[in-house]
Symmetry: C2
Subunit: 325 residues, 2 copies
């Protein structure tokens, strides 16, 4: 395969001139410009992009670290990132971690090795000190509330929205409230847990461990939850559900078991996935795609200009009141 030097020889110019033509720089005479393009045609030349990356020291690739690619939550974030990356002619390198620290480290290492110009972390298990070590290797944007930590972040305030949903249930007369969550570790989950404990204690209700349902990610987990719920001797009258998929599972499998929503069990969920509308599930709309888009913009803007407009951005959550409460 031809390289730029062969093109130069063929066109009777220097490699610098070829590079100029190829990249559309000025100061090349029309004839030479044509000669170069002709040589490119003739020798069927294509740039070796790895040489470009090496020479430029950048790749126009952003890494995306997420636990699962095909989860509605992360899929939506990814969609937002992807949409924006497309607009700016950037590419995305996927780092699926399955919440494995090793895999997370690998993504970070890839930035150190200049495989990617920056990294968007959708979720992680690695400690802050670990991530901090890679700060000098490139911009990192997190899709979670990083608190005081010195990181770029675009996030949804899960403490606030969880507390808001809880207060709504309380206002509706519920005192026995449980919740479903994807996992119990992680910033977002911890925020929700804290909101749960804080809010219930504020009204003098003792939170119950057995009303917390872990590992709730997909529709099928809703089936498990509703059965577990039915087996409880003391049942919560309301559930906060961290994902519409799980809520849909709970509602649909509950129906089959004769569980009346909201009379037997009230539900407030999160996401506002289209499935929640026909099921009349009251849900908090999370701007996931927007979060992805903004995360990309932040990192992109930093890479291209070196400036940061807003280090941390909190995105608004919209409450969609329907009839599952």
């Amino acid at each position: 395969m031809a390289n730029i030097r062969e093109i130069a020889k063929e066109a009777g110019v220097s490699v610098a001139t070829v590079s100029r033509v190829l990249n559309g720089y000025p100061y090349v005479r029309e004839e030479k410009r044509n000669a170069v393009w002709e040589a490119v045609e003739k020798l069927n030349y294509t740039k070796n992009i790895n040489a470009v990356h090496l020479a430029k020291g950048k790749t126009s690739i952003i890494g995306v670290m997420l636990p699962y690619v095909n989860h509605p939550y992360f899929g939506a974030i990814l969609e937002g990132i992807s949409k924006e990356a497309l607009r700016h002619r950037y590419h995305l390198l996927l780092f699926q971690t399955n919440y494995d620290v090793e895999k997370e480290l690998e993504a970070l290492e890839m930035m150190r090795m200049k495989q990617v110009d920056g990294l968007i972390i959708c979720s992680h298990v690695a400690g802050w000190n670990v991530i901090e070590e890679y700060k000098e290797d490139g911009p990192i944007v997190l899709c979670e509330n990083v608190g005081d930590k010195d990181f770029l972040s675009v996030y949804i305030d899960h403490y606030e929205s969880f507390a808001k949903a809880l207060r709504y249930l309380i206002r509706k007369g519920h005192r026995h409230i449980g919740y479903c969550i994807g996992r119990t570790t992680g910033t977002n989950s911890k925020a929700r847990e804290t909101a749960y404990y804080d809010t219930l204690r504020q009204i003098g209700v003792e939170p119950r461990k057995e009303w917390i349902f872990d590992h709730c990610l997909y529709v099928e987990d809703g089936k498990r939850v509703i059965h577990q719920w039915m087996d409880l001797s003391e049942k919560p009258s309301a559930l906060l559900v961290s994902s519409d998929q799980v809520a849909a599972g709970i509602v649909l499998w509950g129906r089959k078991e004769g569980v009346k929503i909201p009379d037997d069990l009230a539900i407030v969920s999160f996401d506002n996935h289209p499935i929640s509308e026909p099921l009349q599930i009251t849900t908090m709309e999370l701007p996931l795609a927007l979060m992805g888009t903004k995360a990309f913009r932040l990192i992109y803007h930093y890479i291209e200009t070196g400036n940061i407009v807003k280090k941390k951005e909190k995105l608004p959550v919209r409450f969609m009141e329907r009839s599952s409460v």
Copy 2:
């Protein structure tokens, strides 16, 4: 940032030796090996992976071309690819095309430029002649039936499964059958269309254009479909739906309108997404994640060994009979 030559100087060896140590090759004396690692520590050295890519002429990255990342169908394929890529320490570069030929070409060009070692095409609009031009630039695996064309492929026989579903409906006494599809172009969609026309004509029923519902991709499209269906003066008694998401939308929005499934309208869908189970939707389980996994394996095996075990592999579809017919 230090490079390999500085490490060599610091450790008092040649760059070749440093490279040997870094890559775990034999024939390096213990002392030198240690000296290299110490220099690496001391200078806080990391490889520049772009230089590696350039030197090796490969990147261990596979490109994935798909129209939308957050669609259940493609998400499932992507998950399968990702899982397998993880096992083999390969990375994935995402090319979201939105079914735009320009974007598809970009993905193909990226392979030519050696950005990726191979390309998995989940779906495309570009013509075969276009794709064919890139055959020499690296292995391409398609997730669709490529017929006689000389491409690697792992696929679901959509003609067969669509025809099978149709015959099932016919056996159940339906004569007025329509269908919902994501788009009308594309190999898979054409296969389904052909199956529809062929099968209906076999039983002497004239297919009807107005019973074909295009642009059905997500839950919310089901809402549109059920309303369109209700507005028809002559209604089909059964619908084949190319995605469980859409079917769920049809069933759920239909319920709200008092449409009885299957009495007013029978449904056979595709995917066997977990949502279809509590909704009792009869569905054809498509092994999407498996397709992704196998596509990756095929391309991986070719890259690593130069061998192809099976050029084209058809994956089995499982019929999940429930009560929506």
